[in-house]
């Protein structure tokens, strides 16, 4: 089986690369500057591979993305599942899903040349100075990209909530929104959490938007209006260009890649388990 081969070689690679970069430094260091080590005897020959700023940047951008995607995606799911007439639903659902079909490089372009300058212009009008490449621009556009994942998965789980629960609430005189928020939403919550986790894993693994719109310098900051970097950006930054294959710089990219793989894998597995157990409950 080919797929098994892929999986095995990934594990093999991961072991090989983690053996060469000290895991503890990597996980706790606060400095990230892999662009050193030109000569063997140079000071700071190994570079600085503290991945904390990189992880924080990823977290920040993912957070912004989910702040955009979760409310909009959920509300769309509520509307599609409970309010929209059949014809409206048939028109809106594919339109929203079109957002998922747009290549990420297009979103990156959009973030870099439209949303970034727009946010900067807005901030300048308010009296702040904000760079064009900022965590907010990248996160917001990423959020747009994730909306369809959240909305269509949540729509599915909301539709899977038994009608009898709704009928019970209506019989007690609840309005549609009360039924939705107090009966359907709690019942569908595990599934929605699953959708959320899948969305997060998408956001963490997303590359092109952040490469184009989030900036390259590792920046330990809590201000979302600054340029920030992410795991995927660093992988691209380190690996595009020619260099020796076994330099610590290259290996750091692989280590980041493995971290990325493991984190998204865990998120996916949890999401799948949550969704599956939820389905079993109502089937």
């Amino acid at each position: 089986m080919t797929t098994l081969g892929i999986f095995l070689s990934l594990i093999f690679e991961s072991l090989r690369f983690f053996a060469q970069v000290p895991p503890l430094d990597f996980l706790t260091g606060l400095q990230w500057s892999p662009q050193t080590a030109m000569r063997e005897d140079q000071a700071g020959q190994s570079g600085a591979f503290g991945a904390v700023p990189v992880f924080l940047g990823t977290l920040m951008i993912t957070g912004v993305a989910m702040l955009v995607a979760l409310p909009i995606g959920l509300m769309i799911a509520f509307y599609l599942a409970e309010y929209a007439p059949a014809r409206m639903r048939a028109a809106v659902k594919p339109a929203v899903e079109l957002l998922a079909g747009v290549p990420t490089v297009v979103y990156g372009y959009f973030a870099l040349l439209t949303v970034g300058p727009a946010i900067r212009g807005f901030a300048e009008a308010m009296g702040f100075a904000v760079p064009t490449q900022s965590a907010v621009a990248a996160g917001a556009v990423m959020g747009i990209m994730i909306i369809p994942f959240i909305s269509s998965l949540s729509d599915d789980v909301i539709n899977a909530v038994p009608q009898s629960l709704r009928d019970g609430a209506y019989a007690l005189g609840a309005t549609k929104s009360e039924t939705l928020l107090r009966v359907v939403f709690p019942a569908a919550l595990p599934g929605i959490v699953g959708a959320f986790l899948l969305g997060v894993s998408r956001a963490i693994g997303e590359t092109m938007i952040v490469v184009m719109a989030a900036g390259r310098a590792a920046n330990l900051s809590a201000n979302p209006f600054e340029a920030m970097t992410t795991v995927t950006v660093q992988i691209v930054a380190v690996l595009t260009g020619d260099q020796e294959f076994d330099s610590p710089k290259t290996l750091s990219a692989f280590t980041l890649g493995i971290t990325l793989f493991v984190v998204t894998l865990i998120l996916n597995v949890i999401a799948l388990i949550v969704v599956r157990s939820y389905r079993d409950r109502y089937e």
Partner: protein, 430 residues
Amino acid sequence: MTDARPLADRAALARIARRRRGEAAFRTASMAAVVAAVAMLGWLLVTLVGSGATAFYQHVITLDVALDPSKLDPTGARDPAELQKASFRPILQSAIYGRFPEATGRDERRELFALISVAGATDRLRRMVRDDPALVGTTVRITAPVSDVVDQLLKGRIDRKVDATLRPVSDRQIAWIDALRASGEIKARFNATFFTATDSRDPELAGIASAVVGSAMALAVALMLAAPIGIAAALYLEEFAPKNRITDIIEININNLAAVPSIVFGLLGLAVFLSFFGLPRSAPLVGGFVLALMTLPTIIIAARSALAAVPPSIAAAALSVGASPVQAVFHHKLPLAAPGILTGVIIGMARALGETAPLLMIGMVAFVTEIPSSLTEPASALPVQIFLWSDSPERAWAERASAAILVLLIVLGAMNAAAIFLRQRLEKRW
């Protein structure tokens, strides 16, 4: 019960009113979310069309160039090889200086010369002389692209009212451009260069041809690998595999692989194909391998669900008239599942076409000025070209990037439409 009697007290009525308002607010909010999402899609498309549509035409300048033999061919031998080496820059300069004799100062002349796409014009002249060396000594009329700044000005992307120090064209240049435009020497025409040329250092000469060919090659490789392997894997898992722990693990694996970030596949490609097998960097062959790995899970999942949707009665009927299990699958189930499988393959390919990150990893970001002619030559891909162009500072690049995005989106739209069409026309419902 004819006389109206209040059903409840005032407080209860107020509560009902509040609950109804809450209901209305919630409903409005949910509709607003839909409107917001659709508006974002609209904003995206409008921006792209607005900034990209103008790249499909281009301004060209018509110039009479005297092919001065004393500059091109001082020896008088008319040797074609020597002629190709000659510099066409001076004669181009004299041509444009001759058009505006009043420009005499050094700076003035430099600004004047900057109106033309020098690389484009000299290239054209060189080719004319190569095809017909007898032209040397005569005056020829050529049309060449104007430089990207002029083009952007004429398309209205450079604000003429901005202070002259803040814009890339001077007042003098604007006066010349307007004079040329009024006399018809500068004209707008369809930008065929964009489709036939390769990447270039000058935006006015850059095109998507090499990227399109690179994408097509990589996609062809991906299709040839992923489709047969994916369908075979799906057939095995769905029809022949025993249900045990191992197949269970494989199944979970496939589902997970479908959600692995694409950049991880790029890393895998870098480590396995480039480093371990030593395949060439930047080659569409390797790009195709990586894209195939990436689309494989999608195809397997789609093919499995298509196979599972074929009712068991069909296989049972085949088996009952004496077909072997293999015959039942290949003669009956597979043809019936084909539309669904095909849809899955097309959607997988559409996703692969739009994918950028894994191609960056294996070095398909090369500056490619030749259309690749084999699978192992350095090539670019359409999304990568978009990435490269949008990172370039001049406005003209952004315009080119939007236009390339439009081309990409049209192709993707066509692929998805084909998938939907297939599904609706060919799929049977049981």
